[in-house]
Symmetry: C2
Subunit: 189 residues, 2 copies
């Protein structure tokens, strides 16, 4: 017989979360993570990424199983529509990170949430991608994220919750403030 | 019997691509696109996005089928590892967009590519997410994208190819230069 004492809030094991905080506090280099993917072009707008391994806390890890992510473009953008397109994946990365960051930090504060959903949308002007107008940016001009939260929380706690994602989310920070990106290319013989 | 005259390079219908360019040139408001997703939290680090509709060229569209994207965190980050995590999705968004942007713009220039693959990785310091050190950013500190390209191209064309993605990719621009993001939250009664 095995008895387990778990202390979960929002499904997050807050005992392990606190242990992680203590470990990284004591040894900051344990906080260094490296995430990676491999992508392969199929045809036209279709390509696939394999998500397999990562490292952190001074160790190398492999996901429970490989995750294959399929990107494509819809017909209006000349693709076969076999998957969400890259800018839709970007919205998913943002939604999932803001949500998870909120849920974890709420758990650390002892705030329980019952339900979280969000609708995101972003504006893009194809004049940028097509290179028709140099004053029009290629990327998103604006992204909106509208969260709806259910929980036994005060209005003040609701406001606190809504700030947790933007304050702590790695994708939110990356996308809002930009990231240095180094691209190189070599020939396959 | 149906005869089709197609002019495809890299799988991209360059006749339709040229028609798109002409249409947006003539009527710039056709270039305005809006992409969107809906996300729902499941538990702990797991949440799911539904990718369904979008609009552009003055019309509303629905994808051929709904795409459901599952995000989760691995065990070391307290999740159940049921999907790639948000920062891995961010790398996939970048890889797929840079690749597709290169392939489309190469097609427009008449440059054929045979094979494209890329390896991406990014550095994240958990001290940021955990709020342990205010001088450490929450997001990626640096992302590297190493492309490998096969094709009957000159060295000059290879260099040109490797610049097309970073020059025209909407996700590259969004992530490198940042995007205004408006987050709001309301209560579900």
């Amino acid at each position: 017989m095995k008895l387990e004492l778990t202390t979960k809030t929002n499904g997050v094991d807050t005992t392990r979360l606190q242990e992680t905080v203590s470990a990284v506090k004591a040894k900051p280099e344990l906080g260094r993570f490296n995430f990676r993917i491999e992508n392969r072009w199929i045809e036209c707008g279709e390509n696939r990424s394999e998500v397999k391994s990562y490292s952190g806390c001074g160790q190398d890890f492999t996901h429970k199983r490989d995750f294959i992510l399929v990107a494509d473009e819809p017909d209006i953008l000349l693709g076969a529509d076999r998957g969400a397109n890259p800018v839709e994946y970007l919205l998913h990365a943002l939604a999932s990170c803001v949500t998870t960051s909120m849920v974890y930090h709420a758990a650390a504060r002892g705030i329980e949430v019952e339900h979280v959903e969000s609708a995101l949308d972003g504006d893009l002007d194809l004049q940028g991608f097509l290179g028709l107008d140099p004053t029009v940016r290629k990327g998103y001009q604006q992204i909106r994220m509208k969260m709806r939260i259910k929980g036994n929380v005060t209005d003040e706690q609701l406001k606190e919750l809504s700030n947790l994602g933007p304050t702590f989310s790695p994708v939110f920070d990356s996308l809002k403030n930009g990231v240095p990106i180094a691209v190189s290319a070599e020939r396959i013989p």
